[in-house]
């Protein structure tokens, strides 16, 4: 069975695909923001200091708070936009996989430490 045929099966379920697409894409956005902030924090002392929302936790506090806010807000906004619609699921799944992969890459020490500021 081809991937296109498989994802079209999701559209056969008697409910709109919009809420699923919103939840899936928001997860990708949350993971991507986490990876992006992790790398930016390493590359820039300004970003590093800005992300230090809590002195004891350090910049991890800002990275995780902003990533979770990005995840929840994007979910709410996308859900509001798509809740009664049927967007094609396949491109959203592909975009989400790419976003999560970039997010994981951004949190991988060998990667983000390559951007370390002096």
């Amino acid at each position: 069975m081809s991937e296109t045929a498989m994802t079209s099966e999701l559209e056969e379920i008697d409910r709109p695909t919009g809420p699923v697409a919103a939840a899936v894409l928001a997860t990708g956005i949350g993971a991507f923001v986490l990876g992006l902030l992790t790398t930016l924090s390493e590359a820039s002392t300004g970003v590093h200091d800005f992300l230090e929302f809590d002195e004891d936790v350090g910049p991890l506090s800002g990275k995780t708070i902003i990533a979770v806010i990005a995840y929840l807000v994007s979910w709410a906004v996308l859900h509001g936009m798509w809740r009664r619609q049927n967007p094609a699921v396949r491109p959203i799944l592909i975009a989400t996989v790419v976003l999560i992969a970039l997010g994981v890459l951004g949190t991988f020490p060998t990667f983000f430490q390559a951007f370390a500021s002096e």
Partner: protein, 188 residues
């Protein structure tokens, strides 16, 4: 036999919530895999689905609780800067002490080549762990949204399985490094 406050929180974060997460994952995985119309009766699907909703919700709650306690309660104790310039507080010690935090201890290399436990292990663990609750929450949403359709729609079921397993994989990386780092440099 007694635990300090810090040891108790480390146990809650790593062992109690971690075990709960693992159990919920195992139950959820088995439930999802076998939730097919050819395997169970309509009444059975209802019963399985109820358990699946409870299992996935429990896993997501455990994932959020684990990262929140880890980041906001345990991690500050790990990363305290106690050893001073040049890591003097860690000289001659075998384990972290009141003058040598676990992070100081690992970076000081006083007990062998340990700095990579922080520079790679802890750095990856503290970040990737946060992807797990987002994926686990997505799995919960999909289970509630699709409901009984999961039993007859293979693609929906596979989507939940992939998301669910992804949540576990992210947590497993964090959990494995957490256990190994705690073995090398425990929080006391």
């Amino acid at each position: 036999m007694e635990f300090t406050n810090r040891e108790t929180w480390t146990l809650i974060h790593g062992l109690i919530l971690g075990t709960f997460f693992l159990l919920a994952f195992a139950g959820g995985l088995a439930g999802l895999w076998s939730l097919r119309t050819e395997y169970v009766t309509p009444a059975g699907i209802g019963e399985r689905l109820r358990r699946l909703k409870i299992g996935t919700t429990a896993m997501a709650i455990a994932a959020w609780a684990t990262v929140i306690t880890g980041t906001w309660i345990v991690y500050p104790w790990y990363r305290e800067s106690l050893a001073g310039e040049e890591g003097a507080g860690c000289e001659g010690v075998q384990v972290p002490t009141g003058e040598c935090s676990p992070r100081d201890f690992l970076l000081s290399n006083v007990s062998g080549q340990t700095e990579d436990w922080h520079k790679f292990g802890m750095e990856w663990k503290e970040h990737i762990a946060w992807i797990s609750p987002m994926l686990a929450t997505l799995a919960v949403f999909l289970v509630f949204y699709y409901g009984p359709a999961l039993a007859r729609n293979r693609t929906a079921r596979m989507l939940v399985l992939v998301v669910f397993t992804g949540a576990f994989a992210a947590a497993a990386i964090a959990g494995l490094f957490g256990a190994l780092i705690t073995k090398t440099a425990p929080i006391t």
